[in-house]
């Protein structure tokens, strides 16, 4: 089980609470977590990564275990603590703008 914490606006959009729990088959990577997230909450498709290029949106970052994973390859394994559900995978919006 993977735990994902979304930024507040995406929680509202997906009509979910603080944390989302996802069952994942296979290795936990950024890509597989986001695939599972978008499959369960289709309204999130395109809001975290581009529909076509699958690139992370520039004002979002991925964190886990106090590490910035944003520039890790999308298919790189996530930390074991995330894969086991001990730590959440955080999607953070830039604190900027008007």
């Amino acid at each position: 089980m993977i735990r994902v914490i979304l930024p507040p606006h995406l929680r509202t959009l997906a009509k979910v609470g603080w944390e989302v729990e996802l069952e994942l088959e296979g290795q936990a990577t950024q890509c597989s977590v986001l695939d599972a997230l978008e499959a369960r909450y289709p309204m999130l498709a395109g809001t975290i990564r581009d529909h076509v290029t699958q690139q992370r949106r520039p004002f979002l970052r991925f964190f886990a275990c106090e590490q910035d994973l944003s520039h890790e390859p999308a298919d790189a394994p996530l930390p074991e603590a995330v894969a086991s559900g001990a730590e959440p995978f955080l999607i953070i919006g830039a604190i900027a703008g008007g």
Binding site: H9, A45, G46, T47, H51, F59
Partner: protein, 371 residues
């Protein structure tokens, strides 16, 4: 008894303003989608409870919302806008080629007859259509494929397709406008297009009478006379009596020839409204006086409508999608400002009152007349 519902899109959410047919007391609901930019909200003429909203954010991109109960509840629908084929390039501000990139939906135009069919005008300029209530979107790529696309260029606000007019008497006829490419017409339901810019004059483009390249801000029509079009462009108010085949200037005695909105009276096809704005850099009303101008002669002769509007120290703008007209008698006229006011007139513009004073900057105003 009839009632009206005003749909307001702002920089930080959507607001719905409701009143009975007297239009004297207003209830405001919102913000819906608080914190998101709502470029446009519009209801289906075929089912007034069906609303569509364009919701976007610098962080999360474009999302789309649909309501089936007049805006009480909403559901997210499809947000995948992918250009058909290889999108190619348009001109960048400096004249160099720049790839087409989807940014946002500026304008939504529901079908006149089918609540599940809706058109979307997007930036970078293209026209999309959904026939399943907004779940999926397909580009009507004949517009970009017209051949002039490489010569289109963004206006200061981006290269947006902001106007979509559906001809009620000829289902295959669609008019659209793009800043800064100009106006286009399709007579086959959006498959093929032709530019309709003959008569437009834009003094600071390389060829002032070019086939494309004009910064059209808004087009309006009266449904009883769909071949008569009125246009507010960057420089000049124009009219066409032949479905856009040719245009003539009708700016007349307006205090400026610049502005964004233009609309037509519900029951008088020759009565039109604009809000003159000072350009090129200020973009607020001349002399700090917020004035709607009305022409009862289809242009050329204009009267200032000021009763109830601020006539000193007013420096707001009225953006291109921020005026609407209801179909009651007398018709109501509504417009929103970048200062967050929504003004309404229940008597065709003779007098005005603010029906919301302190909203976020208003991007769009639509109105539904409900029976």
């Amino acid at each position: 008894m009839s009632s009206v519902r005003v749909l307001v899109g702002t920089r930080k959410g959507a607001f719905l303003l409701s009143a009975d047919g007297k239009r004297g007391q207003w209830d405001i609901s919102g913000p819906h989608f608080a914190g998101w930019e709502i470029y446009h909200v519009k209801g289906s003429p075929a089912d007034p409870n069906r609303l569509y909203a364009s919701q976007s954010s610098g962080w999360f991109g474009q999302t789309m919302q649909r309501s089936n109960d007049g805006g009480r509840t909403w559901e997210a629908v499809g947000n995948k806008f992918v250009y058909d084929g290889v999108p190619g390039t348009h001109q960048w501000y400096d004249g160099t080629p720049h790839p087409w990139e989807f940014k946002r939906v500026w304008h939504l135009e529901p079908s006149l007859t089918d609540p599940d069919t809706v058109y979307a005008g997007v930036e970078d300029a293209a026209l999309f259509r959904s026939t399943d209530g907004g779940q999926t979107w397909q580009e009507l790529s004949g517009l970009r494929g017209h051949g002039s696309g490489p010569r289109w260029q963004p206006g200061a606000g981006g290269m947006c397709l902001h106007t979509i007019l559906l001809d009620p008497s000829s289902p295959g006829r669609i008019f659209i406008a793009i800043s800064a490419a100009g106006a286009f017409r399709s007579d086959d339901a959006g498959q093929t297009w032709q530019p309709i810019n003959r008569g437009l004059h834009s003094q600071y483009i390389p060829d002032p009478t070019a086939e494309v390249g004009h910064c059209v801000h808004r087009i309006a029509m009266h449904p009883s006379r769909p071949s008569v079009l009125f246009m507010q462009k960057h420089w000049d108010v124009m009219r066409s009596d032949n479905a856009g085949d040719s245009w003539q200037e009708v700016s007349g005695n307006l205090p400026t020839d610049f502005g964004f909105v233009i609309d037509v009276h519900a029951h008088e096809p020759e009565t039109i409204y604009v809000v003159p704005i000072k350009s090129d850099s200020e973009h607020f009303p001349p002399d700090g006086k917020l004035r709607v101008y009305r022409s009862r002669s289809g242009g050329n002769e204009w009267e200032a409508l000021t009763k109830g509007l601020p006539q000193s120290n007013c420096y707001v703008n009225v953006l291109r999608d921020a005026m609407a007209i209801d179909t009651l008698d007398p018709c109501g006229v509504y417009f929103g400002t970048t200062g967050g006011q929504v003004y309404a007139s229940a008597n065709g513009g003779d007098s005005w009152e603010p029906i919301a004073r302190d909203l976020p900057a208003v991007l769009s105003v639509e109105v539904q007349t409900l029976s």
